[in-house]
């Protein structure tokens, strides 16, 4: 780098640039918050949905599955599982309930979490709520 470009110029780009983009990011965050209620399906968040999210976290579902594409890639996407299962909460509950305790020989298998009926209902409600968030048409198809 030539002498025309001095160290203090480099420093000013660093401090000036970072501060500018931090402020811009905060402004965009504010704007995003204003726009969220039209997209985030927050009106559907009931106590049951909130309980479902707690259960989702408490059993570390994200350790195998993705949710809106984020998580682990070992098991299917669940952001749209409600749609994939024909908008049936019963089908979701039945799947979770039916997992064999000792797995399936040679295959991947979801653990048996021994959830109560109330907990199953809450998880299914949470997955229904997730599927109704406006995700700009992601995923591309129902396979997730």
């Amino acid at each position: 780098m030539k002498e025309i470009f001095t160290k203090s110029m480099a420093r000013n780009i660093y401090f000036g640039g970072s501060i500018f983009f931090v402020l811009l990011f905060l402004a965009l965050t504010y704007d995003t918050h204003q726009a969220l209620p039209q997209r985030d399906n927050s009106q559907a968040i009931t106590e049951t949905v909130a309980l479902g999210k707690k259960l989702w976290e408490k059993n570390n579902c994200i350790g195998c599955h993705t949710l809106l594409g984020e998580g682990a890639y070992y098991a299917p996407e669940l952001g749209n599982v409600y749609v994939r299962y024909g908008k049936s909460k019963e089908a979701i509950k039945a799947f979770i309930k039916s997992r064999p305790v000792n797995g399936i020989p040679g295959r991947r298998s979801m653990p048996q979490f021994n959830l109560t009926e109330e907990e199953l209902e809450a998880l299914a409600e949470f997955l229904k709520y997730s599927s109704e968030i406006n995700t700009a048409n992601w995923p591309p198809n129902k396979q997730g």
């Binding site: 160290k7 998580g71 070992y74 098991a75």
Partner: protein, 462 residues
């Protein structure tokens, strides 16, 4: 034993580096378990289900890198500040606190169902668990904050009362940023979109933000020491690299806001800015090669120079090129949440952060172990073999996962698509090859460990 340290308190870096290496070994072992579970689904089931092993794998990565960063700070800050560490005793207390907390947390993951761990650690009082990479019990998170604050106090006091160099200032800003952004891990609203929005403030603004400051300053320190190039030149490079990192990386967060319920202008912002994110990494590569080409001395530690140049190249490939591959919104629409992401994650973390920690360890260890400026030739040769084995293995892990990812996208994401598990079965060949590359990686890692005990022939007989 005669130490070769300019400042005696630099010695506290040693246990940090050993802890980092130990946890790195464990991380890789769990990586191999996970790789096997991809193709032998019932391996270790139900005792160590995939999600538990993955949590151990990723959390160990974060913890060993943090040990590495802290060790790096304790090693380089005294030399930069030209004074002893404010409190070496505090550094040692925090070391044990962090190690015990880390080990207990991982033991908790492995010894009981995760839900039980959540219960006994009082997750209901302040639920923060069960989100990717932030699975630690809330009390562990609080412990991390305490350790981080103590560490920042210790390093901050040292820097503020000593010589202030560009390296010091940027390292300190990076470390403060690391601690501040981690606080967002305590915000976990019921609203999934907001939860995800701020989750990225920890994850993205760490690895594509403030961690790059830490990476840049460690790299600059090692290059000054090994090449003898003027500080003026290095400082200018460092400022520009970290400036580009933040200018592109902050709004670049938008590449995570395409499909999670956030407004669609993020598709434009995220695409444009994250497409520029390779720039700081490319500059790092140029920086490393330029400094080495213009070197004013031949440093006897050849292994360190290799690690430093390797960091530049691999960070650019893993974070830069593999990141760019799937960062544009129209591409990401198809690749989001597939093995493509896993491929990028592996090479980026190894190339940028694992390698920079191994670089500073390679530079500092001979001093810390009283060997002088460099380990003996034979030890360096073994270390360089380990460099090549691990690095080439990681390139292949990345290539196989990329191949798996492309096939997955093709089979699963276009038209009607095939179901997830049907597709996974068709990817098995790539997963097997990835596992084979993983075995090569751990052989490299074993060689790396061996390099610490290798002695020169005449030395061994003496």
């Amino acid at each position: 034993m005669q130490t070769h340290l300019k400042y005696q308190s630099q010695a506290v870096a040693k246990p940090y580096f050993y802890a980092a290496i130990g946890l790195f070994v464990l991380q890789v072992i769990f990586g191999l378990i996970l790789g096997l579970q991809y193709v032998m689904g019932d391996f270790l089931f139900p005792h160590v289900p995939f999600n538990i092993a993955r949590m151990v794998h990723t959390n160990l990565l974060i913890v060993w890198l943090l040990f590495g960063f802290m060790g790096a700070a304790y090693y380089l800050v005294p030399e930069e500040s030209q004074r002893e560490i404010h409190s070496p005793k505090l550094a040692m207390i925090l070391f044990w606190a962090f190690l015990v907390a880390g080990v207990l947390t991982v033991a908790g993951y492995l010894l009981m169902p995760y839900a039980r761990l959540a219960e006994i650690t009082g997750n209901d009082i302040l639920p923060t668990m069960g989100r990717e990479f932030l699975e630690q019990p809330t009390i562990t998170k609080m412990g991390i904050v305490v350790v981080a604050l103590g560490f920042l106090y210790n390093i901050g006091m040292t820097i503020l009362s000593g010589r202030k160099t560009v390296i010091n200032v940027i390292l300190l800003t990076g470390l403060i940023g690391l601690a501040v952004m981690f606080l967002f891990s305590f915000y976990n609203p019921d609203n999934l979109v907001k939860d995800k929005y701020y989750w990225w403030w920890v994850v993205h603004l760490w690895v594509e933000g403030v961690w790059e400051l830490i990476l840049g300053s460690i790299l600059a320190f090692v290059l000054i020491k090994t090449t003898g190039v003027d500080r003026e030149v290095v400082d200018k490079w460092l400022y520009i690299i970290v400036a580009m990192a933040l200018i592109t990386g902050i709004i670049g967060t938008g590449h995570h806001y395409y499909w999670i319920g956030t407004p669609e202008y993020w598709q434009w912002l995220g695409s444009v800015f994250s497409a520029l994110e390779p720039i700081p990494f490319f500059l790092m590569t140029l920086f490393a090669f330029n400094m080495v080409n213009r070197r004013k001395r031949e440093h006897p530690n050849k292994a360190t120079v290799l690690w430093a140049m390797g960091t530049g190249v691999m960070a650019f490939l893993g974070a830069g090129v593999w990141g760019f591959m799937h960062t544009l919104a129209p591409v990401n629409y198809y690749t989001h949440g597939t093995q493509i992401t896993a491929a990028h994650g592996h090479m980026a973390f190894y190339g940028a952060y694992a390698m920079i920690v191994l670089t500073i360890i390679s530079y500092a260890m001979p001093h810390l172990r009283g060997q002088g400026n460099a380990a003996c030739n034979r030890a360096q040769v073994v270390e360089m073999w380990s460099f090549w084995l691990m690095t080439v293995a990681m390139v292949f892990i990345t290539l196989f996962l990329t191949a798996a990812g492309i096939l997955q996208v093709w089979l699963q994401r276009f038209d009607e698509g095939q179901p997830f598990m049907v597709v996974q079965d068709q990817l098995a060949i790539f997963y097997w090859m990835r596992e084979a590359a993983g075995v090569v990686f751990i052989i490299g890692l074993i060689l790396y460990l061996i390099s610490f005990v290798v002695k020169d022939k005449n030395q061994a007989t003496a």
